[in-house]
Symmetry: C2
Subunit: 124 residues, 2 copies
DNA sequence: TCAGACGTTCACATCAATGTGAAGGCAAGT
DNA sequence: ACTTGCCTTCACATTGATGTGAACGTCTGA
């Protein structure tokens, strides 16, 4: 698929799809005329990228952890890939993600608690 | 406490504390000489703000939802506060927060799954 | 074949969050 | 009194994620 269709399917402007490529997050093929050609999985990849960006991760971090997300088990067969640095990177990032989750969950709960309390007060 | 101490206690540069005030996220008193004076709870407030900013919320959204987080029950007694707009705002924001949580949790799990699989492969 | 929709690159603008420095006032210790 | 450190405001710079437009090539249907 070409960039316009991917944009339509994901709701992400073409400008951004080109930007993500520049940031090494997407790697479309090129057809003879130079047009970007995306595989069908690109839709999910883009949604993945968007979700992580919206959650406060930078393109740099996304670039570094993406290779380890949703990988087929083939890659896992080569534990050589896991240098101590990569291990530390992944663990550190997972922990920071966990921090964010806890912060967000706390505040989500606070909001719902507020709404529930109001509801409750109104019913009385 | 003055801005320097708050900065030391939270690790957030004074420049940012002044910025958060400008963005209506903090409202310190002023002493006679014009110095900002923060109450003891400011430490938690700043951590709260930092956590939300790191999680991808903008200062604008934080400003709008903060009044409803960690409020003493006094305020809850006035359900008049909950106009339909505020209700929609809070629900909408809570849902978007939930989206982020799910995205982050998915990827945290993926990272840990990867690490576990490596661990597993290495033990064989 | 020509128009219109889509693609390309390049470049400059914006916005939010943050860094940094200048110029000057206030406070506390020696 | 003077130094040192903290405070104030003002202002300009930077970085990352975006918006937007120019100038130009490519495909496709009437």
């Amino acid at each position: 698929m070409k960039i316009g269709e991917l944009s339509r399917r994901t709701g992400v402007p073409t400008r951004m799809l080109r930007y993500y490529e520049e940031q090494d997050l997407l790697h479309p093929e090129r057809s003879d005329n130079g047009y970007r050609v995306y595989g069908p999985t690109a839709v999910y990849q883009v949604q993945q990228i968007r979700g992580l960006l919206d959650s406060g991760l930078t393109t740099e971090i996304i670039r570094r952890i993406m290779p380890f997300l949703d990988k087929p088990d083939d890659i896992l067969m080569h534990p050589r890939c896991l240098t101590p640095e990569v291990d530390a990177l992944l663990r550190g990032e997972a922990e920071r993600i966990q921090q964010r989750i806890e912060c967000l969950a706390r505040n989500r709960d606070a909001i719902y608690a507020y709404l529930a309390a109001i509801q409750d007060a109104g019913r009385r």
